[in-house]
Symmetry: D2
Subunit: 93 residues, 4 copies
């Protein structure tokens, strides 16, 4: 089961809103909206995506990583390494 | 005229691909895809959005800011300040 | 005990190297080095600091958070929430 | 002349403060300060470095790029391309 199972509707709602924002960006470009206004909106969408990522990561630590640690064994090491790699990708993106 | 006028189709194509990626994220969540795989894809979409932003900014500097400087006058100051503010929002998002 | 206890020397070495890089930046500015070259070096120092942060976070998850989960109880919730908040600060900085 | 010539003292003061913060980080690690507190301070230093970068970039656009555009010719293209590349490094760091 995914770590975000308990928040699935919330995650989906956020992603649908982001999809709408990306379509809004397309309209802005089609209508030749001033560059700076398009850029402001791109920054807003980027922040919304990061909020989704931070939520997923929080769920992942609180469920998947936690469960692996509770179960013990080598899987816990693997989960921590995997979470760290995901955090690094996020920080560098 | 927007600074990205000469690249409008390219910008729109990128935004449509990003829209498709965001819909792909929704499918991943609906199908309970493992958190880390969803996170990897969120990082990819974030990078794609940043590439759009960097392209728009390059066009803006090379057209809007440049034209304002060539025309001279107070508008040039304003355009530089505006571009710097947009860069700051981008770096902090 | 801090989660980075086993890597303390490595963390200190990285921070000393970063201190040297920041002093190098001061010299560059004192000698009126071209802006773009200073900026390239600022980006390098920022990346070095992020690498320190990612290392600390990995140690924190693998030791502090993990130990709290193994011990069980409310402390585990607290540690996960605290780690998520630290990740959010890192992603947004 | 560097674009930040008029702000040189301010840039140097900021960099000296950042050097002090990095030394503070070393003390924190030597004294086994709790990971999350070290991480919070690393985020603060990263933000201070980004503020230096954004200031340098603003000076660069307002002086070096602007002067190149006013002078006209191929140098203007080069300066814009160079600034865009520096912004990209900053966004991705």
């Amino acid at each position: 089961m995914a770590g975000y199972a308990g928040n699935k509707d919330q995650v989906l709602n956020r992603l649908r809103r982001i999809e709408g924002q990306v379509r809004g960006l397309q309209r802005m470009v089609e209508e030749d909206t001033y560059c700076i206004d398009v850029l402001t909106q791109v920054s807003a969408v980027t922040k919304a995506l990061q909020a989704v990522a931070l939520g997923l990561l929080d769920d992942h630590l609180g469920h998947c990583v936690r469960d692996a640690v509770t179960s013990g064994g080598a899987e816990a090491d693997e989960k921590v390494a995997e979470a760290s790699a995901a955090i690094a990708r996020l920080v560098r993106s």
